[in-house]
Protein backbone atom coordinates (compact mmCIF):
# COMPACT_ATOMS: atom_id res chain seq x y z
CA UNK A 1 0.00 0.00 0.00
CA UNK A 2 1.28 3.44 -0.86
CA UNK A 3 1.84 5.58 2.16
CA UNK A 4 3.19 8.55 0.36
CA UNK A 5 1.82 11.88 1.33
CA UNK A 6 0.51 14.29 -1.15
CA UNK A 7 0.74 17.92 -0.32
CA UNK A 8 -2.07 19.82 -1.90
CA UNK A 9 -0.11 22.96 -1.38
CA UNK A 10 1.25 22.03 -4.79
CA UNK A 11 4.59 23.35 -3.67
CA UNK A 12 6.19 20.21 -4.89
CA UNK A 13 5.83 18.97 -8.36
CA UNK A 14 6.78 15.56 -7.09
CA UNK A 15 3.90 15.67 -4.65
CA UNK A 16 1.51 16.47 -7.42
CA UNK A 17 2.82 13.59 -9.43
CA UNK A 18 2.37 11.31 -6.46
CA UNK A 19 -1.21 12.43 -6.30
CA UNK A 20 -1.82 11.45 -9.87
CA UNK A 21 0.02 8.21 -9.35
CA UNK A 22 -2.23 7.34 -6.45
CA UNK A 23 -5.18 7.78 -8.73
CA UNK A 24 -7.07 10.00 -6.36
CA UNK A 25 -8.86 11.42 -9.31
CA UNK A 26 -12.03 11.96 -7.37
CA UNK A 27 -10.58 14.84 -5.42
CA UNK A 28 -12.52 18.00 -5.86
CA UNK A 29 -10.85 21.08 -7.19
CA UNK A 30 -10.47 22.63 -3.80
CA UNK A 31 -7.94 20.07 -2.67
CA UNK A 32 -5.37 21.56 -4.95
CA UNK A 33 -4.77 25.13 -3.97
CA UNK A 34 -3.03 27.92 -5.72
CA UNK A 35 -0.16 29.10 -3.69
CA UNK A 36 1.62 32.39 -3.50
CA UNK A 37 5.28 31.91 -2.99
CA UNK A 38 7.38 35.00 -2.69
CA UNK A 39 10.63 34.40 -4.42
CA UNK A 40 13.53 34.35 -2.06
CA UNK A 41 11.23 34.12 0.92
CA UNK A 42 12.25 31.73 3.67
CA UNK A 43 9.06 32.30 5.61
CA UNK A 44 7.54 29.27 7.24
CA UNK A 45 4.05 30.42 6.31
CA UNK A 46 2.55 29.80 2.91
CA UNK A 47 -0.40 32.07 2.19
CA UNK A 48 -2.95 30.47 -0.10
CA UNK A 49 -4.46 32.42 -2.97
CA UNK A 50 -7.52 30.25 -2.72
CA UNK A 51 -8.26 29.39 0.91
CA UNK A 52 -9.61 26.03 2.00
CA UNK A 53 -13.16 25.78 3.20
CA UNK A 54 -13.47 24.56 6.76
CA UNK A 55 -14.02 20.81 6.80
CA UNK A 56 -17.41 19.63 7.96
CA UNK A 57 -16.08 17.61 10.87
CA UNK A 58 -18.30 16.51 13.71
CA UNK A 59 -16.18 14.42 16.04
CA UNK A 60 -15.78 13.62 19.72
CA UNK A 61 -13.76 15.84 22.04
CA UNK A 62 -11.61 14.79 24.99
CA UNK A 63 -14.64 14.98 27.27
CA UNK A 64 -16.45 12.48 25.06
CA UNK A 65 -18.84 15.16 23.81
CA UNK A 66 -19.70 15.87 20.17
CA UNK A 67 -17.71 18.74 18.67
CA UNK A 68 -18.81 20.43 15.47
CA UNK A 69 -15.64 21.96 14.06
CA UNK A 70 -17.39 24.51 11.85
CA UNK A 71 -19.82 25.68 14.52
CA UNK A 72 -17.29 25.75 17.37
CA UNK A 73 -14.60 27.64 15.48
CA UNK A 74 -16.83 30.03 13.49
CA UNK A 75 -15.35 33.52 13.49
CA UNK A 76 -12.36 32.35 15.52
CA UNK A 77 -8.74 32.30 14.52
CA UNK A 78 -8.15 28.56 14.34
CA UNK A 79 -5.24 26.20 13.79
CA UNK A 80 -5.80 22.56 12.85
CA UNK A 81 -3.31 19.70 12.81
CA UNK A 82 -3.76 15.98 12.15
CA UNK A 83 -1.52 13.67 14.18
CA UNK A 84 -1.48 10.95 16.82
CA UNK A 85 -0.26 10.64 20.36
CA UNK A 86 1.99 7.59 19.85
CA UNK A 87 4.16 9.78 17.65
CA UNK A 88 7.43 10.61 19.36
CA UNK A 89 8.88 13.29 17.13
CA UNK A 90 6.95 15.45 14.71
CA UNK A 91 3.50 15.50 16.36
CA UNK A 92 4.59 16.62 19.85
CA UNK A 93 7.11 19.03 18.34
CA UNK A 94 4.51 20.65 16.11
CA UNK A 95 1.96 20.94 18.91
CA UNK A 96 4.54 22.15 21.45
CA UNK A 97 5.82 24.80 19.05
CA UNK A 98 2.29 26.16 18.68
CA UNK A 99 1.60 25.94 22.41
CA UNK A 100 4.78 27.81 23.35
CA UNK A 101 4.10 30.52 20.75
CA UNK A 102 0.52 30.85 21.99
CA UNK A 103 1.70 31.55 25.54
CA UNK A 104 3.37 34.70 24.24
CA UNK A 105 0.03 36.16 23.13
CA UNK A 106 -2.07 38.36 25.41
CA UNK A 107 -4.54 36.47 27.55
CA UNK A 108 -7.40 37.86 25.45
CA UNK A 109 -5.79 36.67 22.24
CA UNK A 110 -5.03 33.27 23.75
CA UNK A 111 -8.70 32.88 24.56
CA UNK A 112 -9.72 33.82 21.02
CA UNK A 113 -7.44 31.26 19.39
CA UNK A 114 -8.73 27.75 18.74
CA UNK A 115 -6.11 25.05 18.38
CA UNK A 116 -7.57 21.77 17.19
CA UNK A 117 -5.67 18.48 17.14
CA UNK A 118 -7.45 15.74 15.18
CA UNK A 119 -6.16 12.22 15.69
CA UNK A 120 -5.21 10.12 12.70
CA UNK A 121 -5.23 7.07 14.96
CA UNK A 122 -8.69 7.02 16.54
CA UNK A 123 -8.36 3.38 17.54
CA UNK A 124 -5.61 4.12 20.05
CA UNK A 125 -6.44 7.78 20.65
CA UNK A 126 -9.57 7.56 22.73
CA UNK A 127 -10.94 10.80 24.22
CA UNK A 128 -9.15 9.95 27.48
CA UNK A 129 -5.81 9.17 25.80
CA UNK A 130 -6.01 12.37 23.78
CA UNK A 131 -6.92 14.39 26.84
CA UNK A 132 -4.01 13.06 28.83
CA UNK A 133 -1.54 13.77 26.04
CA UNK A 134 -2.83 17.27 25.31
CA UNK A 135 -2.75 18.16 28.99
CA UNK A 136 1.00 17.75 28.69
CA UNK A 137 1.05 20.29 25.87
CA UNK A 138 -1.72 22.81 26.50
CA UNK A 139 -5.05 22.01 28.15
CA UNK A 140 -6.78 24.61 25.95
CA UNK A 141 -6.08 22.57 22.83
CA UNK A 142 -9.18 20.80 21.52
CA UNK A 143 -8.51 17.12 20.86
CA UNK A 144 -10.83 15.30 18.49
CA UNK A 145 -11.30 11.63 17.75
CA UNK A 146 -13.97 9.58 16.02
CA UNK A 147 -14.64 7.59 12.91
CA UNK A 148 -11.49 7.28 10.79
CA UNK A 149 -13.35 7.66 7.50
CA UNK A 150 -14.78 10.99 8.69
CA UNK A 151 -11.34 12.19 9.79
CA UNK A 152 -9.75 11.07 6.54
CA UNK A 153 -12.41 12.80 4.46
CA UNK A 154 -12.06 16.01 6.48
CA UNK A 155 -8.30 15.95 6.11
CA UNK A 156 -8.61 15.37 2.39
CA UNK A 157 -10.59 18.57 1.89
CA UNK A 158 -7.56 20.35 3.35
CA UNK A 159 -5.19 18.56 1.02
CA UNK A 160 -3.92 16.29 3.77
CA UNK A 161 -3.69 12.62 2.93
CA UNK A 162 -3.72 10.06 5.73
CA UNK A 163 -4.07 6.31 5.79
CA UNK A 164 -5.52 4.22 8.59
CA UNK A 165 -3.26 2.78 11.26
CA UNK A 166 -1.88 -0.58 10.22
CA UNK A 167 0.54 -3.24 11.38
CA UNK A 168 3.85 -3.82 9.67
CA UNK A 169 5.24 -7.28 9.03
CA UNK A 170 6.72 -7.36 12.53
CA UNK A 171 3.38 -6.59 14.11
CA UNK A 172 4.43 -3.05 14.97
CA UNK A 173 1.67 -0.49 14.76
CA UNK A 174 2.20 2.18 12.14
CA UNK A 175 0.24 5.39 12.11
CA UNK A 176 0.49 8.42 9.91
CA UNK A 177 0.45 12.10 10.70
CA UNK A 178 -0.38 15.06 8.52
CA UNK A 179 2.41 17.30 7.37
CA UNK A 180 0.76 20.65 7.64
CA UNK A 181 -0.81 22.97 10.14
CA UNK A 182 -3.57 25.05 8.59
CA UNK A 183 -4.62 28.42 9.95
CA UNK A 184 -8.17 29.69 9.46
CA UNK A 185 -9.02 33.37 9.39
CA UNK A 186 -11.48 34.76 11.95
CA UNK A 187 -12.74 37.13 9.26
CA UNK A 188 -13.53 34.68 6.46
CA UNK A 189 -13.31 31.28 8.20
CA UNK A 190 -11.13 30.25 5.25
CA UNK A 191 -8.01 28.15 5.73
CA UNK A 192 -5.58 30.67 4.31
CA UNK A 193 -2.14 29.83 5.71
CA UNK A 194 -0.16 26.58 5.67
CA UNK A 195 2.77 25.67 7.87
CA UNK A 196 5.08 22.75 7.19
CA UNK A 197 6.85 20.55 9.70
CA UNK A 198 9.84 22.83 9.84
CA UNK A 199 7.91 25.79 11.26
CA UNK A 200 9.52 26.77 14.57
CA UNK A 201 8.34 28.39 17.78
CA UNK A 202 9.73 31.68 16.47
CA UNK A 203 7.75 31.38 13.24
CA UNK A 204 4.50 30.81 15.10
CA UNK A 205 5.34 33.50 17.66
CA UNK A 206 5.84 36.01 14.87
CA UNK A 207 2.75 34.99 12.92
CA UNK A 208 0.06 34.20 15.50
CA UNK A 209 -0.73 37.86 16.34
CA UNK A 210 -1.50 38.41 12.64
CA UNK A 211 -3.54 35.24 12.31
CA UNK A 212 -5.58 36.31 15.34
CA UNK A 213 -6.57 39.39 13.29
CA UNK A 214 -7.02 37.47 10.04
CA UNK A 215 -4.05 39.24 8.46
CA UNK A 216 -1.47 37.64 6.22
CA UNK A 217 1.66 36.67 8.13
Amino acid sequence: MRKKLFAASALLVAATLTLSACGSGDDSDQSVADVSVESGSDKAATVLDQPFEKPDLVLTDTQGKPYDFRAETKGRPTLIYFGYTNCPDVCPLTMSNIAVAKKQLSKADQDKLRIVFVTTDPERDTPAALGKWLKGIDPQVVGLTGDFATIQAGARTLGISIEPTSKDKNGKTISMHGTQVIAFSPKTDGGYVLYGEDATVDDYTKDLPKIIKGQNP
Binding site: D89, K132, G136, D202
Partner: protein, 151 residues
Protein backbone atom coordinates in the same frame (compact mmCIF):
# COMPACT_ATOMS: atom_id res chain seq x y z
CA UNK B 1 40.08 -0.07 27.54
CA UNK B 2 38.21 1.13 24.54
CA UNK B 3 34.85 1.35 26.26
CA UNK B 4 36.17 3.39 29.12
CA UNK B 5 37.83 5.81 26.79
CA UNK B 6 34.66 6.24 24.83
CA UNK B 7 32.59 6.72 27.92
CA UNK B 8 34.92 9.47 29.06
CA UNK B 9 34.70 10.97 25.61
CA UNK B 10 30.94 10.95 25.66
CA UNK B 11 30.87 12.62 29.03
CA UNK B 12 33.32 15.26 27.91
CA UNK B 13 31.15 15.89 24.89
CA UNK B 14 28.09 16.36 27.03
CA UNK B 15 29.95 18.81 29.17
CA UNK B 16 30.85 20.99 26.23
CA UNK B 17 27.34 21.07 24.87
CA UNK B 18 25.55 19.48 22.01
CA UNK B 19 26.55 22.04 19.42
CA UNK B 20 29.85 20.28 19.13
CA UNK B 21 29.60 17.64 16.49
CA UNK B 22 31.97 15.50 18.48
CA UNK B 23 35.57 14.76 18.01
CA UNK B 24 35.93 11.95 20.47
CA UNK B 25 37.77 9.02 19.15
CA UNK B 26 37.13 5.61 20.52
CA UNK B 27 40.72 4.71 20.01
CA UNK B 28 40.81 3.01 16.67
CA UNK B 29 37.51 2.52 14.91
CA UNK B 30 36.88 6.20 14.49
CA UNK B 31 33.27 6.40 15.67
CA UNK B 32 32.19 9.42 17.65
CA UNK B 33 28.82 10.65 18.82
CA UNK B 34 27.68 14.26 18.88
CA UNK B 35 24.64 16.54 18.86
CA UNK B 36 22.77 14.23 21.21
CA UNK B 37 19.55 15.43 22.81
CA UNK B 38 16.09 14.30 23.83
CA UNK B 39 13.18 16.74 23.64
CA UNK B 40 11.26 16.58 26.90
CA UNK B 41 8.43 14.20 26.04
CA UNK B 42 4.76 15.09 26.34
CA UNK B 43 3.79 11.89 28.08
CA UNK B 44 5.40 9.39 30.37
CA UNK B 45 5.03 6.64 27.80
CA UNK B 46 7.36 7.52 24.93
CA UNK B 47 10.14 9.85 23.91
CA UNK B 48 12.36 10.54 20.94
CA UNK B 49 16.12 11.00 20.90
CA UNK B 50 18.52 12.44 18.35
CA UNK B 51 22.25 12.21 17.73
CA UNK B 52 24.88 12.11 15.05
CA UNK B 53 27.39 9.27 14.78
CA UNK B 54 30.48 10.27 12.83
CA UNK B 55 32.76 7.67 11.34
CA UNK B 56 36.27 8.89 10.67
CA UNK B 57 37.46 5.36 10.02
CA UNK B 58 38.10 3.69 6.69
CA UNK B 59 35.62 0.90 7.42
CA UNK B 60 31.88 1.18 7.66
CA UNK B 61 30.01 0.08 10.77
CA UNK B 62 26.41 -0.62 11.67
CA UNK B 63 24.33 0.57 14.60
CA UNK B 64 22.63 -2.62 15.68
CA UNK B 65 21.02 -2.01 19.06
CA UNK B 66 20.27 0.76 21.52
CA UNK B 67 19.44 0.51 25.22
CA UNK B 68 18.75 3.05 27.93
CA UNK B 69 18.17 3.10 31.67
CA UNK B 70 14.96 5.12 31.21
CA UNK B 71 13.21 2.87 28.71
CA UNK B 72 12.11 -0.72 28.51
CA UNK B 73 12.74 -0.60 24.80
CA UNK B 74 14.66 1.68 22.46
CA UNK B 75 14.23 1.29 18.73
CA UNK B 76 15.64 3.12 15.76
CA UNK B 77 12.93 4.48 13.54
CA UNK B 78 13.19 5.56 9.99
CA UNK B 79 10.76 8.18 8.83
CA UNK B 80 9.17 7.08 5.58
CA UNK B 81 6.86 9.74 4.23
CA UNK B 82 4.48 10.47 7.07
CA UNK B 83 5.00 7.18 8.85
CA UNK B 84 7.67 5.64 11.02
CA UNK B 85 9.16 2.28 10.40
CA UNK B 86 11.33 0.39 12.77
CA UNK B 87 14.81 -0.11 11.35
CA UNK B 88 16.66 -3.28 12.22
CA UNK B 89 20.02 -1.62 11.83
CA UNK B 90 21.46 1.54 10.40
CA UNK B 91 24.66 1.89 8.41
CA UNK B 92 27.41 4.28 9.38
CA UNK B 93 29.50 4.57 6.21
CA UNK B 94 33.27 4.93 6.25
CA UNK B 95 34.22 8.61 6.43
CA UNK B 96 30.54 9.36 6.79
CA UNK B 97 27.90 9.84 9.41
CA UNK B 98 24.60 8.53 10.61
CA UNK B 99 22.29 11.43 11.35
CA UNK B 100 19.31 10.91 13.60
CA UNK B 101 17.48 14.23 13.59
CA UNK B 102 14.03 15.63 14.12
CA UNK B 103 11.82 15.04 11.11
CA UNK B 104 14.05 12.20 9.99
CA UNK B 105 15.32 9.02 11.57
CA UNK B 106 15.27 8.97 15.35
CA UNK B 107 15.57 6.86 18.45
CA UNK B 108 12.25 5.96 19.97
CA UNK B 109 12.16 5.28 23.69
CA UNK B 110 9.19 3.21 24.80
CA UNK B 111 7.97 1.77 28.09
CA UNK B 112 9.52 4.72 29.92
CA UNK B 113 10.42 4.04 33.54
CA UNK B 114 10.19 7.75 34.32
CA UNK B 115 9.39 10.88 32.37
CA UNK B 116 12.65 12.57 31.41
CA UNK B 117 12.59 16.25 32.37
CA UNK B 118 14.40 19.20 30.83
CA UNK B 119 17.82 19.62 32.40
CA UNK B 120 18.23 15.93 33.19
CA UNK B 121 20.47 13.51 31.35
CA UNK B 122 19.51 10.13 29.98
CA UNK B 123 22.14 7.45 29.64
CA UNK B 124 22.00 5.67 26.28
CA UNK B 125 24.12 2.74 25.13
CA UNK B 126 24.81 2.31 21.44
CA UNK B 127 25.87 -1.11 20.15
CA UNK B 128 27.63 -1.64 16.86
CA UNK B 129 28.53 -4.53 14.60
CA UNK B 130 32.26 -3.86 14.98
CA UNK B 131 33.00 -1.04 17.39
CA UNK B 132 32.67 -1.51 21.16
CA UNK B 133 29.52 -0.06 22.70
CA UNK B 134 29.42 3.69 23.24
CA UNK B 135 27.57 5.28 26.13
CA UNK B 136 26.07 8.71 25.55
CA UNK B 137 24.75 10.98 28.27
CA UNK B 138 21.90 12.51 26.33
CA UNK B 139 20.74 15.89 27.68
CA UNK B 140 16.99 16.43 27.95
CA UNK B 141 16.06 19.70 26.27
CA UNK B 142 12.77 21.61 26.06
CA UNK B 143 9.93 20.09 24.06
CA UNK B 144 10.52 22.70 21.36
CA UNK B 145 14.32 22.57 21.31
CA UNK B 146 15.73 23.35 17.88
CA UNK B 147 19.35 22.26 17.40
CA UNK B 148 19.73 24.79 14.59
CA UNK B 149 19.13 27.72 16.91
CA UNK B 150 20.28 26.04 20.12
CA UNK B 151 17.10 26.89 22.03
Amino acid sequence: MVTAAVLAGALALTACGSSDSGSDDDGGSGLSVGSAYMPQPVSDTMAAGFLVITNKGAAGDVLTRVTSEVAGEVTVHKTVGQTMEEAKSLDIPAHGELVLQSGGDHLMFEQLKRKPLEGQKVSVQLYFAKTSPITVEMPVKSATYNPKTGH
